[in-house]
């Protein structure tokens, strides 16, 4: 027996409603009742599927996961060699990210933001882990490196949205890559000279 069509309709309606509302106002300012009204779903029905607004968000992120997976696959086929894959991936990611600006804004500073960030980090871990072939040992532990990459990604797109929304995805991605690849050093002292960016 296949999955009852009513449940998929109900759930997607709730997912859509939540995203719609996040685009309109701040995540913390959205009540379960708001989602219910937007989705035209009964109260008891909601709690039959999810135990909270946070869980609704979390489960809805399987869509994000699908997007990331698709982007990853595209990067896989597009890249020349295995080493270039991650870069093709993040490049594509920056192209897509701009479309979700209002969602990012609605999530900023909330528990929801952490939920999304965690999902992103988990996906990165999975993807990057899948191509960890004969890599030389690194001084920075792998899980820390991945957390670092994910947080840097968040830092860049947040700054991009809040401070310099005029930048193109390519420019933002360039900054991201620069930070991940070479760091920046603490102001006052250049990091090791060979690593300074050009100019």
């Amino acid at each position: 027996m296949a999955i009852d069509r009513r449940v998929v309709r109900t759930r997607t309606a709730l997912y859509d409603a939540l995203v719609t509302l996040i685009r309109r106002r701040h995540y913390d300012a959205i009540s379960v009742q708001d989602v219910l009204d937007e989705a035209n779903v009964g109260r008891s029905t909601f709690y039959a599927h999810f135990k909270s607004k946070d869980e609704l968000l979390e489960r809805s992120l399987e869509r994000l996961r699908a997007l990331l997976e698709h982007t990853w696959q595209a990067a896989l086929s597009e890249a020349d060699d295995a080493e270039a894959i991650p870069y093709a991936y993040t490049r594509a990611l920056f192209e897509h990210v701009a479309e979700f600006r209002d969602v990012q804004a609605g999530l900023s500073g909330t528990r929801g933001e952490r939920i999304v960030t965690t999902a992103l980090r988990d996906n990165l871990t999975r993807f990057l882990g899948s191509i960890a072939g004969g890599e030389p040992p690194r001084t920075v532990p792998r899980d820390l490196a991945i957390g670092f990459i994910a947080e840097t990604f968040i830092a860049v797109i947040t700054w991009w949205r809040e401070k310099r929304p005029d930048l193109s995805p390519a420019e933002a991605e360039s900054l991201f890559r620069q930070l991940v690849d070479k760091g920046v050093g603490l102001p006052g002292r250049p990091s090791s000279p060979a690593c300074r960016g050009v100019q």
Copy 2:
């Protein structure tokens, strides 16, 4: 006329109570009433001083600010030259951070964490800005660089607490500096060879 002693007593009692509770349980699981009971302060009194739990936390961070300021001053006098100041600062910071592990844990994933992170970033901005003498132009915009540093700091101490609490402050700080200075590159391709860590 000086500030009424009753108000400072009340406020510090509330600050202390909040921190005490965060050490015991998760920030989200703490109600205003809990803080009131712990601090032995009347309900109406609380709302005469703060409009919410979040504001209480935010205002209580003036203490954090004082700690950071003190650490900064110490780094100022300790460092040989101006360029070494930031590093003396972060080194000292990692020494202190271990003492607040349970507070970090109680805040992780909450709005409170964002409040603290923002305060930290603001302080970093202020400090690092104060020594931004004749610095060469950098390819990465200054405010992005500072945000990047702050987020990297958070990423490292979070990973340190959750995954490798056995590490010494010096070891953790070494990883932090490595990331900030040289980045890490995306797995699969080394970042520019000259920048790889030793070994």
